[in-house]
Structure formats: C-alpha cells, structure tokens
Amino acid sequence: MTPTTPLGRTAVALDERFAGAKGMRKLLNKVFPDHWSFMLGEIALYSFIVLLLSGVYLTLWFKPSMTEVVYNGSYMPLHGVRMSEAYASTLNISFDVRGGLLMRQIHHWAALFFVSSISVHMLRVFFTGAFRKPRELNWIIGVILLILAVVEGFAGYSLPDDLLSGTGLRIAQAIMLASPLFGTWMAFFVFGGEFPGLDFIPRLYTVHVLLIPLIFLGLIGAHVGMVFYQKHTQYPGPGRTNKNVVGYPLLPVYIAKAGGFFFAVFGVIATLGALVTINPVWLFGPYVPNQVSAGSQPDWYMGFLDGAVRIMPNWEVHLWSHTLSLNLVVPAMLMPTALIGLVVAYPWLEAWATGRTGEHHLLDRPRNVPTRTALGAAFLSFYLLLFIASGDDIISTTFHLAFNDITFLFRVLIFVVPVLVFWVTKRIALSLQRRDIDRLMHGNETGNVLRLPHGEFIEVHAPVNERDRARILSNPAIEPLPMPPATDAAGVRTPNYRAKRLQAKVSHFFYGDRIPMPSAEEIAAAQAHLDAGHHGHDELTH
C-alpha cells in the first residue's frame, strides 16, 4: 500500500533511503511509566533548551572584554562612568537592544530553574532508590551535570562584571588563594595575574558559552540515552514487576505530554522574564575592587557555600611563615568535596550494606527504606541550614535579630538539626510502615459503626484496594546481614573477617530497625477474616 498523504510519502522516501522505519517503530512504541515526579528531569531539559536559545541571543551583543570604556548609553545614572566593555555591553543589552532585557531575564530565570529542577529531580531519584543497580553510572552523570550547572550558573552570574558579580569573583579568587601549597600560583594562573586583571572575563566567556555547554550536550545525551536503553523505573503497583514496564507508548501519549510540557515551561519562564526583575545589573554599578554592597549574595545554588563561609569561625593556622586559612579551606573546599564524595559513593555504599547484587527496576517507597530516607532528609536539612545561613544579614534586618546571635545559632544547629531530622524521619518512616501493615491486615477504617443483634458495636473495616495492596506488599523489608563468625567450625579464621564485620555493622545501621512484613499465610488469613465480614480490630470485637 503506497501512502497518499505528503507526510506519508516523505516518510516512505526517507525509509527507502535510510531504512529507519523499523527502528522508529520500536522507538515510538517504547513504553514509559506515568508519574508526575518523572517529569522533574524534563523541566531541567526544557530549561536547558531555553538557556541555549536565549543565550545565543545574548551572545550577539555581549562583549566579553575588560577594556575600559566610557558609558554613553541611555541609562542616565551611569552616564559618563568608566566601566569594562563587558558591563557596558550588558547595559546595552538591557536598555538599548530590542528585547534584550527580556532575554537577559529569561536566561537568568531559566538558569535558576535549571539548577532547581536538577536538584529536585535528584532528590526524587535518591528517595525512590532509582540510583541502584544498574543505574549507578547515570546517577554519577547526574551529579556531574549538577556540579556543571552550578559552575555554569556562577560563570554566567560573573560575566556582566557588575559590582555584585565582581564581589562573587573576588570570593572565588580568595578561595583559590586559600588552597594550601598551590593557591597563590593557581589564582595568578586563572586570573592571568593580579585580581581582577584583564584576562579572566574573556576566559570565563569561553568556558560559559562553549566548553561547559558542549559537555552538557554530551552528558545530557548520554543521560537520556541511558534512561531509554536501561528503561525507566516505575513505582510499585498492580501488575508492575521488576521485569516489566507498565505505562503508555512514546507516540502519541508522551510526545504530546512532553511537547506540551515544554511549552508550559517555556511559557512560565518567559512570563517571569517579562514581569519579574532578576539581577538588575544597572543598580549594582560597574565592578570596582574598592567597592562592595551590603546584601551581596550569590544566586541560590551557591548559597550553601556562602552560608558555610559565613558561619565558619575565623580559624587560621600559621606554619613556617605560611598561613592555612581554615576559615575558607573547611567551608569552601573540604565541605563541598565531602558532600559530593558522599553523594557519588552512596549507591555503592548502600549496595554494600544490603549485600545483594540484583537489579532494581521497581522504585522504593521512601518509607520502606527508613535509613536511606532519614539520611537523605538529614543531608537536606544540613544543606538547607547552610542555604539559610547565606541570608543571615537579610534575616537580621528583616526580623531585627543580631546576626552575631544568628551566626552562633547556626553553628549549633548545623550539628544538631541533621541528627534530629535523621531520627525523626526514620521513626516516621517506620510508623508509616506499621500503618501500612495495619491497613493490609485489618483494612481501612470506614467510619461506620455497626451494632450487632446481640448489642455489640463494631467498626466496619473495608479491605484496601488493589493498588494500595500492591504498593504495601512492595515493601522489601530488607534484613541486615548477619555478623560473620570469627572462625568457622574447624576453627579457621574467616577470610576478610574485619571487612565483613564492618559490612555487617553498616548493614545493621541501615536495616537493623525493621518492621517485618507478615507472611503470605498471615495475609491470606487476615484477608479471609475481612472477607467473612469479621470487620475490624480484634480488640474492638472482643
């Protein structure tokens, strides 16, 4: 049958030349599971596209040059002021290029959402255990993408060479200088001499518009490709197993949903760009090293680093005429390195503690893995505290508090809160599991109280529906690894005894507190009990 429509004829013509029909059919029939939380990564992808488009527009007028010029554009409060060409061209984009300010604001809002969506997407992946085998590598690509997004954002924030971004660069340079042994050399290398110098902005421009975007394109391709190839994970539910994917085909459902979502994301970003000011560089003024403004903060994704530096005590060690600036080394180098290391290592750490090697395509409900959920929540609270600490001056003026007190409070909270959050989250997760089992065994409370002919009152319980049942039964209720015996029956020492003992201890930390799932027989008996009309808790009926 030959197609008659233009589209059909084009498709046939293409297939005759490239033989792509078979592959396309397979691709378009590919099934994806449905859940709103699977679309968080899409927000990142769409913001990235918006960033590319708006960024190209900005490059047409931005001049990455530190050459000093006198501003003669239409923004009167800076008329006749000496400034770098980078800053002058940013003002030009903002006030004299048609649609320039809109594009700048779109670009900046999109950048904030890009990092936000990557972060929230990673939280979803973490709390549902989507990082487990076989997807550890994609988790790491995700971590790299997040780090690059932060670096790329900071580079973009620094390029206009305004007072705020220059202050940020000064801090970045200070952190470089604080690096032990090679700090001074590195700072001079990167900036091409003394700060701020003439070299840095052009160098940063190349990094911002060429180097990092290229790496982004490659890694995003790999990231999405791996999701295709390894298949998307799915939440537990009726008929969903570790070996299937229940959902809708790419065509037409997801093409339509994703296409529509792209325009929604673009629309929201464009609306914000049109209505809400972001980074009003004209108010900051050009960067001059002897000027600084109160309320100098980085964009939100750098906030946790800024907060860490703000609350760090002013410790320095002087050794053999060298200064080790712990006040920067600890919060701006060791802390983020440790956080990134933990995040990268986590999939292997958990797999090691679990002691199993199987693949996981079915997601965890966060309550069913209490220790992971609690660790994630503790991590988040640590991060959020540092993030909030970054706004300590705004908190101080808004709430009329002394920021000396706020700083001291944060120094205490940063150690206390994550421990509390860990404990509370774990207890909540375990309690939710108990409630799940209770619902499974005794059914849902209906709120109907029944009086029996002999005068007894019972509360009617209804069996949980099929979906909830499948979800509750998905609890793996992982058991901790047993302590290895020091020696076997013949008295021979267990090989790698210390490592195995450590593994068992870590395993106990992860899975020691567990709510055992009732056995299949117990569930069947409870089901029969409910079906037979003996509703409700035994305590009530006795």
Binding site: I43, M76, L78, S116, F284, G391, F403
Partner: protein, 265 residues
C-alpha cells in the same frame, strides 16, 4: 479555666483595664509632651524668642538624659558639640527622644516635634558648643547635581552598609544601617555631616558639598518606583530572587507537572 474566670463581670472588667492601661499610659506620656507647660504642638502660646523656646523644649524633652548643659549623663552621650545639624537629624527623623530601648535609636513614622520646635531646639543646642549648622544652604541645588557621580560616591562610601539599592543592611549586634527610602535630602546631608551612630562623618574635605548633593540626587533616583525589569522583589538582591524563584516560578512548574502527570481516568 480561663474562660470561666471571664464569666465574672468584675474579672472581665479588670482584664480589659489591664489590656488598655499600657496603651493609654503611652498616650498620656506623648500628650503630656504636647500639651504640657512650655511644650506644644499647639502654637497658641510659646516664647517668641526661639532660643528661649528651644531651651524650654530642650529642658523638657532632652535634658534628663543629655544634661542641662548638653554634657551628657552616662550612658547618654554629650551633645553640646553636636550642633544644630545633629539635633535636626535626630529629632526630625523621630529617632530622638529615644523610644523603644534597642541597640540604636530607631526611626519613627512621625517626629514627636513640629518643624518649628525642632528648629528652636536645634538653635538652642548650637549655643551650647561648636557643631555643624543645619545645612539648608548646602543642600540647595541637589536636583541639578551629577547623578552618575553620586552613584559612584554612593557605591564607594554608602553601599557597603546601606546596600546598592539604599534598602539598608545589617551591622553587628542587631544594629542596622537604615533604609534610606524615607530620608529627606536635608536629613541625608545631615547624616553625612554628623555621622549618627555607627556611621562615619564625611567632612567637606573627604566629600565636598557637590559630591554630597550628588549622593542625594542618586538616593532620590533610587527612591523612584520605576523598575525597567518589572516587579523589583524589594531590591534585596539574589536572596529575594531565589525565594521567588523557588516558591513562585518553580512551584508553578511542579504544579504543571503534577497536573500533566495526573492519571487519565
């Protein structure tokens, strides 16, 4: 328990009395100043000589802390050499007489004294020692000052505490560099001249009058509500942008994702 107590009419009356008392007390204190002897928002009878009037007002409202000769009674500072400019600044912004006990005198919505009363007090304090006069002449012509120069001077000398947008900022131990959006040109000039509280003095050698007027011009520009980019989010910098981004923008995106992801039933 609380509820039952209020069923007794006497108790209720007592409770109401307690609630109202502090308010009326405060009111009484303020009205004592305006209607008492010598004092007066009412311009009906006051000495025609401003110095005599100023002395009366000073003795009534200031002397209990700053001393009859402006010598200061610890912990209050001596003000005999503060000059008319300092008096006008502190009184016209409502910072003096001291209100709530805080780490620094706070601006009131309205000054407790009329302009004439303030002038009279300022003139009287000027006679106690040597201090700068009210810079009425020097402020003249700020409207024609160089705004770009003002911006540069502002960013070099003022922004580090008052922030790039003049919104104010935090200092140590709960002190603040105030928001400049309500300050009048004269008050701004006076502040530079006398350096109230933690603020440094900017003498005419450091900051010539022309530059002071330029700063005033720039601050007046910052007060204009026009914002080329749309909503200004309080001009607080990236903190308010980040908050708005998360709760305003990103929240909407997640809401749309949830809406699209809702199961077709």
């Amino acid at each position: 328990m609380q509820a039952r107590a209020f069923r007794r009419p006497a108790a209720a009356l007592l409770a109401v009395a307690f609630a109202v008392l502090p308010a009326t007390g405060a009111q009484a204190a303020d009205s004592a100043r305006t209607s008492g002897t010598g004092g007066s928002g009412s311009t009906t009878s006051h000495p025609s000589d401003p110095l005599v009037w100023g002395k009366l007002l000073y003795e009534e409202g200031c002397a209990s802390c700053h001393g009859l000769q402006g010598q200061g009674i610890a912990p209050s500072p001596a003000i005999k050499d503060s000059g008319a400019a300092a008096v006008d600044f502190e009184v016209s912004t409502g910072r003096m007489p001291l209100g709530t006990i805080a780490n620094q005198a706070l601006r009131r919505a309205h000054s407790l004294y009329t302009a004439e009363e303030t002038q009279a007090m300022a003139q009287y304090v000027a006679t106690l020692g040597n201090g700068p006069a009210i810079p009425t002449q020097q402020v003249q012509g700020w409207e024609n000052a160089d705004m770009a120069l003002g911006g540069q001077v502002f960013r070099t000398n003022c922004a580090q505490c008052h922030s790039f947008s003049g919104q104010g900022g935090a200092l140590t131990w709960g002190k603040q560099a105030p928001n400049l959006m309500k300050a009048t040109p004269t008050q701004i000039y006076e502040a530079m001249l006398v350096g109230p509280n933690n603020m440094p003095k900017f003498s005419d050698q450091t900051l010539p009058p022309a530059e002071k007027r330029a700063v005033i011009k720039y601050i007046e520009f910052l007060r204009q509500p026009d914002n080329p980019g749309g909503l200004d989010l309080g001009r607080l910098g990236p903190v308010s942008e980040g908050l708005f981004g998360w709760f305003g923008g990103f929240g909407i995106l997640v809401a749309i994702a949830i809406w699209i992801g809702v199961k077709a039933k």
